[in-house]
């Protein structure tokens, strides 16, 4: 009986660590992604970019493993029955954000868009806003498990950053279409800008759901 209890405690602790690690992966992803875009804008598809891309793939793979682990453990150990569905949805949402980062980075690697230098500054600003938005989403999501007041604070930040990223992407796309570039290049750059901005939109959706779950979680 004692052994069973100890092992249940150990398994709960492992699950707690897995949830924490998934959040760590998002924060790590935001930093590596920012770095990857910086490298791409400077060196295009260099060896350095290839290495950073690999790192992104690795983070995405690790987070997939963690997601599956969390999902199966929640059900195997019959934990948090009233919130289990919500937590599964949350974990799926977090994974979707990580996947989108990976997709965008990979798309840069495959398509190698030729982005004129005059847009680099604005694009870097957008990438920073999007990465910060996702990072704050991860902090808010981590707080959901421990401290609902902190969750609300970081949710506000996510909404603010998403709004800013919307503005930056709109400004950038307008500048691209107002330029003398070929239509094909305009469309390609526009697609990339939209996809980067999509990460912030997804983070915002994640927070919307999270705030609903938090209402349910309040005692």
């Amino acid at each position: 009986m004692f052994n069973v209890k100890v092992s249940l405690f150990a398994r709960t602790r492992e699950l707690e660590h897995s949830i924490d690690k998934l959040h760590d992966k998002i924060i790590e992803m935001t930093m590596v992604f920012k770095n990857a875009i910086d490298i791409y804008l400077q060196e295009r598809r260099s060896e350095n970019y290839r290495e950073t891309s690999k790192k992104i793939k690795m983070i995405e793979h690790d987070s997939d493993v963690l997601r599956r682990e969390i999902e199966s453990r929640l059900y195997e150990q019959n934990l948090i029955p009233d919130m289990r569905g919500n937590i599964l949805q949350l974990v799926e949402n977090l994974d979707r954000v990580i996947n989108l980062f990976d997709e965008v980075a990979h798309k840069f690697y495959i398509e190698q868009p030729d982005i004129p230098e005059i847009y680099h500054g604005e694009l870097k600003t957008l990438v920073k806003q999007v990465a910060d938005c996702a990072e704050n989403m991860a902090i808010a999501s981590r707080a959901f498990f421990r401290d609902l007041v902190t969750l609300r604070d970081y949710s506000k930040k996510v909404y603010l950053l998403e709004h800013q990223s919307d503005k930056t992407s709109a400004k950038l796309r307008k500048a691209v279409f107002d330029s003398d570039l070929e239509l094909a290049r305009k469309i390609q750059i526009n697609t990339f800008v939209e996809e980067v901005a999509d990460v912030a939109d997804l983070a915002e959706d994640c927070i919307d759901a999270l705030l609903i779950f938090a209402i349910k979680r309040e005692i």
């Binding site: 707690e16 948090i80 029955p81 009233d82 421990r146 979680r217």
Partner: protein, 352 residues
């Protein structure tokens, strides 16, 4: 002895009703929120109901005897049966009611039928406890709720560990609640048979002697266990889910408050301690676990702003609290009349 067992059967039926109806208050919220499995919760509650009945069940019986000393077996049978039927009628209509109220209605019915004066002081005491029970439960629940909220806010405990604590708390509270229910409410079930008890005492090894009256309480406890396993799941659906949608933490606070209230109203030692300290004491009176649970739920609901409470359902339940003693009173009066005039049984030994 066979006649005795036959007449006792209505008491056992009432015991079954107690298990079917009131036991859901102990672990209904825990099962309703899927924190504990029904079979596990029912097993723990059953074990402790039996222990509570045998060890402390007699404390509240004195109050019932003061209200009306039903002194023949056939009369005990009629009073018990009427109360059980009143509870069953209410259960069938989906209202969780109190066996405490039904049995008081039944005893008053005996008093009226046999021409005995009802001890108004005791009746007022009992009725006052019906009012104070949900109020005290609400106060305790709100106090624990605020304290838990504060602790959770400061400790920043992970949701997984909160889940663990609530689960362990629910298991302990189910045991405490079971004991409290047995101690407080079993007098309702077998109290009217104490004066005519025919069981003899026996020893368990060299450790513990069970008196004849305790055997009576043991049988009542076993009947309640059968009620828990066979019928309580229906009542759980009402109390556990309909009244207010709440989290497992709140569910645990509700059952803890209910158990504390039941213990408060069954402990003679606590009564003596409060009296010694010159504080207003709580008499050892059988109170309603349903009222305690509803008092606790409504209290927390009000503390949360009162938005989630289904007041219509609260009123429906409260109407059952008035209806059940009245129905038991009428049924008791009618069945005693049948018992005396049709079956030619003595329903009162007092020489007038």
């Amino acid at each position: 002895m066979l006649t005795y067992i036959f007449f006792l059967s209505s008491g056992l039926f009432l015991g079954w009703s107690l298990g079917a109806n009131d036991a859901s208050n102990i672990f209904g919220t825990a099962v309703g929120t899927k924190m504990l499995r029904f079979s596990f919760a029912a097993a723990i509650a059953s074990l402790f109901i039996v222990l509570g009945s045998v060890i402390s069940g007699q404390n509240t019986a004195d109050t019932l005897n003061a209200l009306g000393g039903v002194n023949t077996l056939p009369a005990g049978f009629a009073v018990s049966l009427s109360s059980a039927l009143a509870v069953l009628l209410m259960l069938k209509s989906g209202i969780s009611v109190s066996i405490s109220q039904a049995i008081v209605g039944g005893i008053v019915g005996w008093n009226v039928y046999t021409g005995h004066q009802t001890d108004m002081e005791t009746l007022v005491h009992i009725c006052a406890s019906w009012f104070f029970c949900p109020v005290i439960a609400a106060v305790i629940a709100v106090t624990i709720y605020c304290a838990v909220k504060k602790i959770l806010h400061h400790s920043k405990l992970h949701i997984l560990w909160q889940d663990w604590i609530v689960r362990v708390g629910m298991i302990l509270t189910t045991a405490l609640g079971g004991y409290a229910l047995g101690a407080n409410n079993m007098a309702n079930v077998v109290g009217v048979f104490i004066d005519s008890c025919q069981f003899t005492s026996f020893q368990i090894g060299n450790l513990y002697t069970i008196s004849g009256v305790q055997v009576l309480f043991l049988l009542g406890g076993i009947a309640a266990c059968i009620g828990v396993f066979t019928y309580s799941q229906r009542a759980i659906k009402n109390v556990g889910k309909n009244l207010l949608s709440f989290s497992p933490m709140v569910a645990w606070i509700v059952i803890l408050s209910q158990s504390i209230v039941l213990i408060m109203f069954s402990s003679v030692k606590l009564e003596q301690l409060l009296q010694a300290l010159n504080l207003p004491s709580l008499p050892a009176v059988p109170v309603s676990s349903t009222q305690a649970v509803i008092g606790a739920i409504v209290g927390i609901g009000v503390a949360k702003g009162g938005k989630g409470i289904k007041w219509g359902l609260v009123l429906k339940l409260m109407s059952g609290w008035v209806a059940s003693p009245l129905i038991a009173f009428l049924l008791s009066y009618i069945s005693l009349s049948f018992m005396e005039n049709v079956f030619r049984q003595t329903v009162d030994l007092t020489i007038k």
